[in-house]
Amino acid sequence: MISLILRRGALSLATLFLLATFIFFATEVLPGDALDVSLSADEVAMMPPEVLARRKAELGLDRPILERYLGFLGGLLKFDLGRTIITRAPVADIVAMPLRNSMALAAVTLLLALPVALGIAMAAAQAKGRGLDNAVSGAAIIGYSIPEFVTGLLLIAVFAVWWPIFPATITASTDDPLSVLLAAAPLAVITTIIGSIAYLGRILRVGMIEVMASDFVERLHLSGIPRWRILLVHALPAAVIPGLSAAALYAASLVSGIVVVEMVFAYPGIGAELVRAVTRREVHVVQAIALAAAICVVSFNLLADLGISTLDPRTRSA
């Protein structure tokens, strides 16, 4: 087990290194450098050449590409992500709080959605092909296929306008404590939860149905083992395994990809920050957010792999 963790950990670090390299070259080297990208064509045309050169030197953009790359990597090791071009603020400071907020939203979503999805999947699998199962499957497809901005706007219309029990948009600021922030954002949480339950429920339902038709469940059933024990002790872990990788990717996408929800509710998360950084052409911030997303995907995958090998002894003794 320990050797597996080390092996997987090393692979993950290697993956991250490659991703960091790719992100650096993709954002810095291709068509123009960070300064070019942040200035409009008019600005470049009007700026005297020596001012342009001085600003490049300030940002370190006059150094050779390899030196800048090594500097970028060295900075990463010290969590120094550079400074923004316009305000000269450290990128790490700008990204930290929105990242925290997004992770909090994702964590709350998963904590609430996972048990509900599991319960629904188990109930649906029990009633496979009958009314309850069909209703659940249908609802899951609808919940999964309605875009989040529609769900969000619908929730706002119902719970903030017609029956105003929740605020429509979030008034808390970026560095408020999480408790304040999340208390102010019930509709955003509900929106992400609805999508999550639909997605996770679908995956788990299929896994559960497969497992309930397996030979070992039939043997247990024919041994008179209590139903609850078959479901919880035998079937559940077996049903979760195939869905774990997909769920991990989904969790990673929750952290980095709830841009839409964050925009609809003005939630101060990383998605909103990314949109801002892109419109302002803050290359270093975009780099930092891309890296954070990559780290999320890689570490959730690592967690899923370790989870699978904990649950499934067959994957351990290779």
């Binding site: 496979k128 039939e218 043997r219 059933h221 024919l222 041994s223 008179g224 024990r229 077996a238 002894p313």
Partner: protein, 553 residues
């Protein structure tokens, strides 16, 4: 065994007029158990024999009051200890299961929960069904594992199912089933997934349990030899109906029904000479010397260096023109790999192949077109070896046009001729493979192989997916065609009866090596290897059971 003429006591199990049907999604009804009635007394063992599709497994599950999803017990009664399992409420059924009646399923690996240690799974039955405390359950489970013939039960209990051998797994499943000492034990093909050596050991255990326990057993299997060894009485089923029922010695010794006789005909009887025609020992057609092969395991980045286990080691044999050479072996013996090497699906690692005096390249792609034409193959599963989108007539005509350049008309005429020789109606030419029965599909595959006019035909388990009646007919037709065309056959099978009927010489394989080879008559009558002797002993029980000297009953 019940003494003859003794008064019949109240039977433990009494099945009356049982009807079970499966329903397709479209609501079509398919009756698989039809008016089945029988009694079983305590201490008795009943064998239920039948081919796949005879309804025997559905019947076995019904004896626990269970019908799989999509099936339904429509009418009849199953009285176990006076209570009718058909009308019992689910709660009462669950209370019965495991304690009064238990089941040993066919696949021990998939029947155990893969993510739990096997010790936990035995303890679970003891705790939740026998009501033992965790501590007592743990002690008793080790006792049970010991009773099942597992040495070092503490170690075994700590393992996961995939870490055990097939025989060990089935012993664990038996321990689970016997945990509450049920009055009735239902075994559904419990040894079918095991190799012959392990099967013999597990059967020995079941035999021992049968004698030690007071309870009754129902033993479901397609293997008459196993029934001959284990059971007092036998019930033969076909298409859901009971064909014949009675004491094993009586039914196997003097079968009253044609279907029973047919099933027994597919059991091996080594008396008289082998029915196989002696091969024409003219020139040598195929020569295999020092052949070796291993499947390389894929090595992944950062994994341990790849290890290889040899699949075939030092294979030497020769095959004459027009000769039928049988290759006998169990799954994992390397017999299919050998076929793959001869046909060129696989390239040998070591050794040489010579065909008709000339060197034969390893991979089929490297062989000349003529060599590829002269060596043809028929596979176990005809449905997956025939193209599902082409009419079978076109598929048989294709090799003629490809190898012999026949024009469309001549190829069609020759196809019709091949179909006739194999007893296939010319109406079937325009059908697609799915529209044919299993036996017809396999005959199309044989016709396609003969269409190339090969000198050597490799047949890999070509009858193992077929019913006994179809199997016998197909082998007769294959033998006739082979003799007429003078084609040599390499007949790969696990079925000794097929070898006895068809092959003049035989190779016995185990773990990738040849254990012995020689004339079929000599090898089957006086096997020189103990493994061959054990295979023969297991395969002839059904036909020897009626003989007075038979020790098995």
């Amino acid at each position: 065994m019940r003494p003859v003429g003794a008064p019949v006591v109240e039977p433990l199990l009494s099945v009356r007029g049982l009807n079970i049907s499966w329903f397709s999604q479209q609501g079509r009804r398919n009756q698989v158990v039809n008016e089945v009635s029988f009694d079983l007394a305590s201490g008795e063992t009943l064998g239920i024999a039948g081919e796949s599709g005879s309804g025997k497994s559905t019947l076995a599950r019904a004896l626990l009051g269970h019908a799989r999803g999509g099936s339904r017990i429509e009418s009849g009664s199953i009285l176990l200890g006076g209570r009718d399992l058909v009308s019992l409420a689910p709660k009462a059924l669950a209370a019965l299961r495991g304690r009064d009646v238990a089941m040993v399923p066919q696949h021990p690996l998939s029947s155990l929960t893969f993510h739990l240690r096997v010790g936990v799974q035995v303890e679970e039955v003891l705790r939740h069904r026998a009501g033992l405390s965790p501590k007592a359950a743990s002690l008793r489970s080790l006792e049970l594992l010991t009773e099942m013939g597992l040495s070092e039960p503490e170690k075994i209990a700590q393992r996961y199912p995939h870490q055990l051998s097939g025989g060990q797994r089935q012993r664990v499943v038996l321990a689970c089933a016997l945990a509450c000492d049920p009055a009735l034990l239902v075994l559904d093909e419990p040894t079918t997934a095991l190799d012959k050596t392990t099967e013999a050991q597990v059967l020995e255990l079941i035999q021992r349990l049968r004698r030690a326990r007071r309870g009754a057993m129902v033993f479901v299997t397609h293997d008459l030899n196993v029934i001959a060894e284990i059971c007092d009485r036998v019930m033969v089923m076909q298409h859901g109906k009971v064909v014949e029922e009675g004491p094993v010695q009586q039914v196997f010794g003097a079968p009253a029904q044609p279907y029973t006789r047919l099933l027994l005909g597919s059991a091996l009887r080594v008396d008289g000479a082998s029915e196989a025609q002696p091969g024409r020992h003219g020139s040598i057609l195929l020569e295999v010397a020092g052949l070796g092969f291993s499947y390389a395991r894929p090595s992944l980045l950062l994994r341990r260096a790849s290890t290889t286990t040899p699949t075939l080691t030092d294979i030497n044999f020769s095959l004459g023109r027009g000769e039928v050479l049988g290759v006998i072996g169990e799954s994992g013996s390397g017999k299919t790999t050998l076929g793959g090497l001869v046909t060129g699906f696989l390239a040998p690692e070591r050794g040489v192949l010579r065909f008709d005096g000339a060197a034969l390249a390893g991979r089929a792609a490297a062989r000349s077109i003529e060599h590829r034409r002269r060596i043809q193959m028929v596979f176990q599963d005809p449905l997956s070896s025939l193209n599902p989108r082409r009419r079978v007539g076109d598929q048989v005509a294709r090799p003629m046009r490809l190898f012999h350049g026949l024009d469309k008309r001549k190829a069609e005429a020759r196809t019709v001729q091949l179909f006739e020789e194999l007893g296939l109606n010319a109406d079937l030419l325009t059908r697609f493979p799915r529209q044919l029965s299993g036996g017809q599909q396999q005959r199309v595959a044989i016709a396609r192989a003969f269409a190339a006019e090969p000198d050597l035909l490799v047949c890999d388990e070509i009858t193992s997916a077929l019913d006994a009646s179809v199997q016998a007919q197909l082998l007769d037709q294959l033998a006739a065609m082979q003799r007429r065309a003078g084609t040599a056959l390499l007949l790969i099978t696990h079925d000794l009866t097929v070898i006895w009927r068809m092959a003049s010489r035989v190779i016995v394989m185990r773990s990738g090596r040849i254990l012995e080879q020689g004339e079929t008559n000599a090898v089957f009558r006086t096997p020189s290897n103990p493994y061959t002797a054990a295979l023969l002993d297991a395969a002839t029980r059904a036909t020897r059971v009626a003989e007075p000297a038979f020790a098995g009953v």
